[in-house]
Symmetry: C2
DNA sequence: TCGACATATCTAGTATTCTTGAAATATGGA
DNA sequence: TCCATATTTCAAGAATACTAGATATGTCGA
């Protein structure tokens, strides 16, 4: 995770609709939700939601996958974990034996992590 | 942590100078840094830094304390923890036995937490 | 109390971001 | 192929945020 991606990710989360979307997808769990259902759930116009979903995607905070003509979105826990690791990097001048493992548990048991 | 404070906090972290400041203070540890030294370290004008420090303060991401004529700033780990808890609240529809404890360790051993 | 130092506040010009109507792209079924 | 559905892209006006010069406030030492 570099500084540019981090800034973009925090910027993505600093807007109400997008923060609502991310938290909604966290609640939805690994099953995720279709783009249209997300827009309906939050009462946001479809094209506005599309723009906001794209911003969350580029920020690596969510992922998507086409299923027929609908597109399913899921929270990206690997992404958020990378972001938070960057945020508290070199805590206290860098005592890896104390600080590095702190974020290792930031994934709910019901999510599968992909890489590590 | 409510939605307004969260949005403000993410907005605070979405600006390069402020993200740099927060990460610098995380690295600095409990000792923190004086406002002027922070501005010098990051090559930012004094009044601009003052404005940015105030934004981080209001976002509950840092704290300050006057020492003579200087003011010492520290990262606020309780604040960031509250923010992250809010972000992944009700993970997977809310299975507290799996998801709630995930953030409990998000404090470096070398920091003292104040309340819980 | 006076001057120097450390930091904060005010103001305004510039730049960036948000939303939306309109139009385009992609998919599946008849 | 033609149409309906699901979603994305484009363009522009409105709103918001960033920076910096000037100035104000607070603290210490002489």
């Amino acid at each position: 995770m570099d500084i540019e991606t981090s800034l973009f990710a925090f910027s993505a989360l600093s807007q109400k609709t997008r923060l609502d979307v991310f938290r909604l997808l966290v609640k939805a769990g690994p099953e995720g939700m279709f783009a249209g259902d997300i827009a309906d759930a939050l009462g946001v116009r479809q094209n506005t939601m599309s723009t906001n979903l794209n911003i969350l995607l580029r920020a690596k905070l969510i992922r998507n996958e086409r299923e027929g003509r609908a597109i399913r979105y899921r929270a990206d826990f690997d992404g958020i974990r990378g972001l938070l690791s960057f945020l508290v990097e070199d805590c206290c001048g860098g005592n890896p034996e104390h600080c590095a493992p702190l974020l290792d548990t930031l994934v709910c048991d019901c999510w599968e992590t992909e890489n590590d």
